[in-house]
């Protein structure tokens, strides 16, 4: 025993990674795709699918109702007009965001996996950007699809699809533009709240409160305060912003009885406001992920 070597080094066969390194851009893309699948619970258990899929179906109900009406009545009759659609499903959209956003960003914070992401090619802003992109895409899916179904259905129910298309083709850019602004706005607000509070219960209720309660507060301030001051409060409520710019995109005049009608802003004000709020939320989200200790 005494003359045995003091220590022996064994070759246990550790190897360096020799393959192709796909780099930062691929990492962003991979995280985006993974997150987008997570938005709808694809690749997860059925209980993760129930929420987002169920809400997506509920968001379709008014479109299907309109199709039924269009099929039964002989003349072109729009019970549900495209510029009113988001107004009808705004609570569904808020619940969708409140259910999905905490899953997207909260889970990585709860399970301490952020440090794993940040130790790879992915930068901190890239993480925020991929998550934001995934939620925006998810929101786009549940806003554009019902509108597209309604557009196609109305067109096919009309006497001549070609004529319908010729008369109403301007609706298509309106649908896409308003849906894009709406998705960016709601996703931005949802993610910034979810990133602050990793606990699911708190962030879900926080997001809902941010949409529903600001809407109520803005409405009652508007009713009470002086018109010239009070109308600016509407620009702070996400639901009012969405209503405002959707009407502008579809070139519709708001009903005089509604608050949007009384506030009498030019429609573009809501659109600019939505862009500004979205950019602010993105900036805050970047800052949050720069500061967060994984």
């Amino acid at each position: 025993m005494a003359d045995a070597p003091a220590g022996t080094i064994y070759d246990v066969g550790y190897q360096r990674y020799e393959g192709v390194r796909l780099g930062r851009r691929h990492a962003i893309w991979a995280l985006y795709v993974h997150s987008l699948r997570g938005v709808f619970g694809i690749g997860r258990s059925w209980s993760s699918k129930v929420g987002p899929m169920g809400l997506a179906v509920i968001a379709l109900v008014p479109a299907i109702f309109q199709l039924g009406v269009a099929a039964v009545t002989p003349t072109e009759l729009s019970v549900i007009r495209p510029e009113e659609y988001y107004n009808l499903i705004e609570v569904v959209l808020a619940i969708f965001c409140a259910v999905v956003a905490p899953e997207l960003v909260g889970r990585d914070q709860r399970t301490n996996t952020l440090s794993l992401y940040f130790s790879r090619a992915l930068r901190r802003q890239d993480y925020a950007l991929a998550k934001f992109g995934a939620l925006v895409t998810g929101m786009l899916a549940i806003t554009v699809i019902p509108q597209a179904i309604m557009f196609l259905g109305n067109g096919l129910a009309a006497n001549d699809f070609g004529d319908y298309l010729k008369d109403n083709w301007t609706d298509l850019p309106s649908i896409l533009g308003s849906a894009a602004l709406l998705s960016g706005l709601i996703a931005g607000i949802g993610l910034i709240i979810a990133a602050q509070m990793p606990r699911r219960a708190y962030s879900t209720v926080g997001i809902l409160a941010a949409f529903l309660l600001t809407s109520i507060i803005a409405a009652s301030v508007f009713e009470t305060a002086d018109q010239n001051v009070g109308r600016f409060v509407l620009l702070l409520s996400p639901f009012h912003i969405v209503r405002g710019f959707t009407l502008w995109f579809f070139d519709a005049t708001p009903d005089p009885g509604t608050q949007i009608g009384e506030a009498n802003f030019h429609g573009i004000a809501y659109a600019i406001d939505a862009v500004l709020v979205t950019l602010l939320m993105l900036a805050l989200l970047f800052r949050r992920y720069e500061k967060i200790s994984p």
Binding site: S48, M197, T224
Partner: protein, 243 residues
Amino acid sequence: MNATVFTLTLRQFAGQRRSLLMFGLALIPVALAIIFRLGEHLDQQEETANFLANVVITLILPLACLIIGTSALGSEIEDGTAVYILAKPVPRREIIAAKFAASVLIAAAFVVPATVVSGLIGLQGVSEEGIVTGFAIATLVGVFAYTAVFILLSLATSRALLFGLAYVFIWEGLITELFSGTRFLSIRQYCLGIADFFATVSEQEFEATIGGPEAFILAAVAAAGALFLAVRRLESFELTNTD
């Protein structure tokens, strides 16, 4: 009831950001009431009663109870700390009782004062007509019923929050409004029934579909039933990986 579990649960709710959210939820009705008072009103009693019904009972009360009820036991299950409680020689009914008592205490401490203060501000200058008393009792009863149901939900499924939201917004918000025959299965309607029972304003101003005594009994049955089932569920609880 187990005093240690009770105090631990109270402490669990005392995080900074979380209690900030609860404060926000409680302050919003007060702020709304102040905004409301600044305006001109034809019928302050009617409008205050409707405000308490549409904002406090419909939104603030269920949302506050949803957070607290689903996370009292739910966050322990999610974090994996439930094992340590369940492994102790404490009867499961005592755990449920302690969790329930702590949740009710916290939820009531936020929601009931919010109701009373916003009601008093809204009715300032006119006679109260039992509106504040009615809604205070209604929210208190609501806290008991909602919290019990949400605790049961957090034990029955790992998606308690989702099903809780679906119950509040889709069942109570949509289906019971459309099909009034289902109203006896809605905690919101119990609360409105109780508030209506105590408030002496005329029927056009504020009217509930369920009578006061029935609403009280139904709420008690809902709370007791949910707690009984929660104890049963916890007695045969299997810890699984939730995330």
